[in-house]
């Protein structure tokens, strides 16, 4: 997995966000066993305590669970995953709208721009790009 970190946020919360994204986008499948903390920490290049803290937070949110003897797993509850996905989507949309509003576009125009943009992408796709 590719990990990237920005300078202005705590590392553990960025780990939470990136693992969550991996779960909702299906990189990690429901019920899949996660690698041990140390391996995940090495992969991300972060301190194992920080990775541990991130996983505990994900556990608190119900995205992952621990089985005493066999390790940590992604939740099998697809409802939890779906609602996390929806929450992320809503947040993206909110920030997109805020940006567009800052640029001075009224709501209706944002919708038509978005539609046009999607159309264009579709056409480009047809041309094999």
């Amino acid at each position: 997995m590719e990990w990237t970190f920005s300078a202005d946020l705590p590392i553990y919360s960025q780990l939470v966000a990136q693992i969550k994204l991996a779960i909702v986008s299906g990189v990690y499948l429901p019920g899949e066993r996660l690698a041990p903390v140390r391996e995940l920490a090495m992969d991300a290049g972060v301190n194992p305590n920080t990775m541990q803290r991130a996983l505990q937070e994900l556990e608190r949110e119900g995205m992952v669970y621990t089985q005493r003897t066999s390790g940590r797993f992604v939740t099998e509850d697809t409802k939890v995953i779906e609602s996390a996905k929806k929450l992320l989507a809503e947040r993206e949309i909110k920030s997109f709208l805020a940006q567009m509003t800052r640029l001075g576009y009224p709501k209706e125009e944002i919708v038509s721009l978005l539609k046009a943009s999607i159309e264009e992408e579709k056409n480009n796709g047809d041309m094999g790009m």
Partner: protein, 231 residues
């Protein structure tokens, strides 16, 4: 019990006050960055912990003991400049470390030499500066110590090796051992640290967790350091 504890520690070189009333403790299982500008007292602090210097005042304890023969078995120390016998090969050094330290894992050291492409038969004097630093670090990290004191471990090596060193620190992580890294290359080590200690003019300016700084200041430790120590 704290792995490393300082109580009102002072060190004076003649008229120069190198450390002034320094108190802190480092718990087991922490990776701590000792950060400060040049001449702030980092190396003095680390040398005191190794018993290479004696305090002018105050107290320093490693696992509850004063630095000495017993603590040297617990502390694995990377000096700020390589000090390996020039005429020896890496191979011979591994044997020497096995003789000196009961906790030295020779197989691990060999594996790291191979990974970094260092010929065990090569003599230290034939090695480049960076390679010498790598050998020294391999020796230090191949011990199963309670406290690793790394004085500028990444200063002289290339970025790929830097990554490997940091990866090694993470791989080596042991909940009962602590690692202290003194450096001014903060951006490179920030992600592997639990806590940071800022030191300036021989005094502790700040001790905090990395994520607390990021949370409270909204910036990286590197950026915060630049702000605190602006020239």
């Amino acid at each position: 019990m704290a792995t490393w504890e300082c109580k009102s520690l002072c060190k004076r070189y003649g008229k120069v006050q190198a450390l002034d009333n320094v108190s802190f403790s480092i718990e087991p299982g922490r990776v701590v960055g000792l950060l400060g500008p040049n001449g702030s007292g980092k190396t003095t602090l680390i040398k005191l912990a190794n018993g290479l210097l004696t305090p002018t005042g105050g107290e320093l304890l490693i696992n509850g003991q004063k630095p000495g023969k017993a603590t040297r078995a617990l502390v694995s120390y990377l000096p700020d400049r390589p000090c390996l016998p020039e005429w020896m090969s890496a191979e011979k050094l591994l044997n020497m470390f096995s003789d000196f330290y009961a906790d030295f894992q020779q197989d691990k050291a060999r594996e790291m030499l191979e990974k970094l492409g260092i010929d065990p038969k090569q003599k230290i004097k034939q090695m480049s500066k960076g390679t010498r630093e790598k050998v020294q670090l391999i020796l230090v990290m191949s011990r199963k110590a309670e406290l690793y004191l790394l004085d500028e471990p990444i200063g002289g090596v290339d970025p790929a090796t830097r990554d490997y060193i940091l990866e090694t620190i993470i791989r080596n992580y042991n909940p009962s051992a602590s690692v202290v890294i003194s450096t001014h290359l903060i951006a490179d080590v920030e992600q592997v640290l639990d806590d940071v200690i800022f030191i300036n003019h021989g005094q502790i300016v700040l001790k905090s967790s990395v994520d607390d700084i990021r949370e409270q200041q909204g910036k990286s430790v590197d950026a915060y350091f630049r702000e605190v120590f602006r020239c």
